[in-house]
């Protein structure tokens, strides 16, 4: 435990000194402000933009898209995973497909999706689901595979219907695995949606960054960038801690 705390302190010190170093390099003119601006300027730009409300529309657009994609991926992915788990023949063909799914850069489908669905929220949601859902399917399968046989026997002894077995036994037992899938799904949906907005879109935070870049507005660009990265880090961090708690509660029994 001491060792972990020491690592945490050193980690924070390393990150803090990197930020201080960058700040000093910018203030001393070692770094061209046209390339990177000082971290303190990034923070003040972020605060200004959020305070003035000019980002509100982008924030609403981006997060509603991400949440929609995430929810669809979780529901669809869990359902698909449960179905594939029940049908061994389907599983035999689905396994190699899932194993190589993430080797395909899903993102290259985005231009086709835009052509198919028009520029707007729809192709972004589909892109988010395409990047997130397979992670949920994979973790659902591994969760269902790892349900202890004794629990399944218990369900049979109590003559539970398949629906009740699923709701009362399988899902709770598989929860830690499912949660890992949900965590991945959130970060994949976030990455997919923001990348889509960045490359080809008219709204959202990703678009705000690429628009600021193309109009040489570095201050705005770094402000929005910092905001997006902070949100991503906080969201992933919260889920990471939550996941650890779940796993620990499970191991305590």
């Amino acid at each position: 435990m001491r060792r972990r705390q020491a690592a945490l302190i050193v980690r924070i010190a390393v990150l803090a000194s990197l930020i201080v170093l960058l700040e000093m390099a910018c203030r001393l003119g070692l770094v061209d402000p046209l390339t990177v601006i000082a971290p303190s300027d990034m923070v003040s730009s972020m605060v200004d933009q959020i305070g003035s409300g000019e980002l509100n529309a982008s924030i609403a657009a981006t997060f509603s898209t991400i949440v929609l994609a995430f929810v669809l991926a979780v529901i669809g992915g869990t359902a698909a995973g449960a179905l594939i788990h029940r049908l061994p023949r389907l599983r035999d063909v689905a396994d190699p497909l899932l194993a190589s799914y993430y080797s395909v850069p899903t993102f290259i489908f985005y231009p086709l999706l835009v052509a198919l669905l028009g520029l707007g929220q729809a192709p972004l949601v589909v892109l988010g689901v395409l990047s997130a859902a397979p992670a949920v399917v994979i973790s659902t399968l591994s969760g269902f595979d790892n349900v202890a046989p004794v629990l399944m026997k218990l369900a049979r002894v109590h003559r539970l219907t398949p629906a009740r077995t699923l709701a009362w036994i399988v899902l709770p037992a598989a929860l830690p695995h499912l949660f890992t899938g949900f965590k991945l799904a959130l970060s994949y949906a976030l990455i997919g949606v923001i990348a889509g907005e960045f490359i080809l879109s008219g709204t959202g935070l990703g678009y705000a960054i690429s628009f600021a870049y193309q109009s040489f507005d570095n201050r705005t660009m770094y402000g929005v960038m910092l905001f997006v990265l902070l949100v991503a880090v906080v969201a992933n961090g919260v889920l990471y801690v939550w996941e650890g708690r779940l796993a620990r509660r499970r191991s305590r029994g």
Binding site: A7, R11, A195, G206, Y213
Partner: protein, 262 residues
């Protein structure tokens, strides 16, 4: 991943294989007809149907224009992949052997892995300028972390006996790496290479899709902008085929190294 362990008796395994071959064929046919359905439903405005795409692709493969762009992507990608593999391997070994440094670095790397790196692409462009080096740098940003994390995990989970043996034999750090660490971690290293391969490809392609004049990513976006649907569908098909082929190959290689008794 695939449950091959069931095949205790040979005939059952063979029939299972046959069923699987039939099912795979059915699945491929379903996917192709879905592709065809989307193509004809939208009358080729968004996606061109499979057969038409194939014909177009054969023609495209004979133009020098396509190969110019493909070579540009390939160069950037190979450079990015080799750089992330070598640097990731070195970092992973260092962080794996120096436990404390590894404990400090791992959450930072894992955090970096989950952030939307595309938002950082303008910074890469400002630092490296438009062109090849920015694409390569962005590819490395995607590919380096998984390689490092996989190698780190492999070294950390290494049996202590191996490390002690190296110490008893008084191997130098370089030789320990060359003769003990790398061979012992090979399955995980191959896995890391596989993930790193697809992510650095993704990084390079995204780089090309955003303010670039060369490469397959540019060709794809450009095809969309010019309403040249067969072109963009063909590019997507090529990339998907190459990615799946490379991944399957590396999965096979990884499995071979994965069995110590083989």
């Amino acid at each position: 991943m695939s449950g091959l362990s069931l095949g205790k008796n040979q005939p059952r395994l063979a029939s299972r294989r046959r069923v699987r071959a039939v099912d795979t064929t059915v699945l491929v046919l379903v996917m192709l007809s879905l592709w065809q359905a989307i193509g004809s439903w939208t009358r080729g405005v968004a996606v061109s149907p499979p057969l038409q795409t194939l014909v177009y692709l054969v023609g495209l493969l004979q133009t020098s224009m396509f190969w110019d762009h493909a070579v540009a992507t390939l160069q950037a990608f190979l450079l990015a992949f080799v750089l992330s593999a070598l640097m990731g391997l070195a970092l992973g070994l260092i962080f794996g052997v120096r436990r404390f440094a590894g404990e400090v670095a791992e959450p930072i790397l894992a955090g970096f892995y989950t952030i939307p790196k595309v938002t950082l692409y303008p910074v890469v462009l400002l630092l490296f300028g438009l062109g090849m080096s920015a694409k390569v740098a962005f590819g490395v940003m995607h590919g380096l972390v998984p390689m490092t994390l996989f190698t780190l995990g492999a070294v950390r989970n290494l049996s202590p006996v191996l490390v002690r043996t190296a110490r008893v034999l008084q191997l130098s750090p370089g030789r320990t790496m060359r003769w003990v660490l790398v061979p012992a971690c090979l399955p995980d290293i191959v896995n890391g290479l596989r993930i790193s391969f697809s992510l650095s490809l993704l990084g390079v392609l995204i780089g090309e899709m955003f303010s670039s004049q060369r490469g397959l990513g540019f060709l794809l976006v450009n095809g969309m902008a010019q309403h040249n649907v067969p072109l963009s569908t063909a590019i997507v098909t090529v990339i998907v085929a190459v990615a799946i082929a490379a991944n399957t190959l590396m999965l096979r290689v990884g499995r071979r190294f994965g069995r110590p008794d083989a």
